[in-house]
Amino acid sequence: MEQIEPAEIEALLIEQAAKGDAQSFARLYDLHVDRVYRHIFYRVSDIGVAEDLTQEVFLKGWQALHRYKRTGSPFVAWLLTIAHNLVIDHYRARKRETSLEPSILPSDSATTPQQIAEVRWEQRELERAIMQLRPEQQLVIVLRFIDGFEYSEIAALLRKSEGAVRVIQHRALKELRRILGKEIG
């Protein structure tokens, strides 16, 4: 029997959900909830907030499903842009309070307590700096380096050229350098 590709299953689920089939949307939820949660958790570093916002992403996704267009970007990337906007709103509502409790644990390569402490410190600084970028720069950096999307996918999602995405990435990295330089210096 012919095997159905996961992408085809996803396309079918989206089609069914767009016709009002809640169960199909629930299956899309099953497929993507981990990734959406992880994306949000990376940026808010709070389990409760990450859970609330994850729920909201899917509810908004359901409500806006008729606006989702197959533009060449994966469905999960579309969900992540909803997540991105909610995270921004969350910080805005908290009057840009950015006291993060970073979640990032040391990488495997750090073995001694001192190394672990150093890696953790660096990651915290980096995470704080990313939070200070402009929303669009944040989105590109997180989608590219944290979520691992290709330039073409990010470009389709943002409705920009791949070149424009690389320009945003370049500006974002320069800005990170400036922020980190200022914090260290």
Binding site: S161, G163, L173
Partner: protein
Amino acid sequence: MATKKEEILAQCIADVKAGRASVEDCLAKYPRLRKELEPLLKIALAIEPPPEVSPSPTFKARARARLLAQIHAQRPVTKGRRLRYISWTPRERRFSMVAIVIAIIVALAAIGGGTVYASQDALPGDVLYPVKTTIEDARLFFAFSDEAKAGTYLAIAGTRLDELSRLPEDRSRFVERLMERYRYNLERGLDFAEQRIEQGGNASGLLARFQERLAHHQEVLQTVYEQVPEEAQPAIEHAINVSGQGLERANRLRARAHLENAAQRLARVSEMAQAGRMDEVIELLGEYDEDLASFVEAASETGDVELLLELACERLDLVFVDVLAIVPDEARSAIEDARLKTMKGFDEATEAVDRGQDLKDAWQEFEVEWEEFMPQWEGEMEPGSEEWQNAWQEFEVEWEKFRPQWEGEMEPGSEEWRDAWQEFKTERGHSQLVPTPPIP
């Protein structure tokens, strides 16, 4: 457009991450860029995905059940319901429309005019409340255009808030439902406003109304929040967020509406130019300038300034290309000027925003600069030529020296300001560079 530098950085990041090259390999390959590439590469490589974090199974199951419950509670709002309706045959559809109209007329006739009037003040839990919501459904049914639908949904959202502010304490069980209906009506209203923009209609006035009402909703909700019992506060808090998000969306849409007005104005410029009506071309270009200023003002109230500027740049440039391809020669120069002003203005505004300046202020400054510079070259240089670019740069240098002297002290364009500029030029011996008065 990405330059070589940006492409090289992206390629190096990809190569190093994929293990095809080391940082040193990349730097050795582009020695002239080493100084700039090295720190950026290091930062890019330091950004690592966090270790696998997963939501707890309990949360996943609970959230899934809640999602399904919310979907079922809102079912009438989904596209699905609409699609099912659309999938009927034309005959079925006609029949169903007639049936709905008859049902509404019969219902309204049966309950009588006095009852309808009395129902206007009804609250959830009152006997007449269903009459009130039936009338709202009827209003929606008879709102045929997108604009009318958007306005009706907005009014209904306001009614839900009004009910909330008058709800007695013993009916606090209705708070959550009222807030849910508020959210639904607000979002539907904005959906129709967006649809109007997408279909080429002028929605700027409609969206200004959304902005004004939403600002008022925020005030009402804040007051209600302080008055409701503690258990009802989370629902109000949620509604404040919903209202805030609605306001942000209305702001973005309003900017888009002004952008579309500008694009359509350009299309009319093209028609007038082809008809040889140059007076009207000039007048329309003046109005186009006002559209741009309105767009900038609306965009500056959003959190997506950069994105909107890029969108505007792309959108308008495409229209300019189309217009310039067909207009007669006598209109070309005026349209080229407008194009240059738009592109240069957006470029400078983007840079100013990057520096942390407010978009509206940046645009006002640019407009003053443009008015200052224009008389210098008019009829003497080709707009956009190398000579023009050099003159502009020279002007900018002078301008930057002058600006700090008046900033915050004089109104740009005022008599006092013009005298100061004249004096400045005379002092610096630049009367040759700027032979005409600053603002004609």
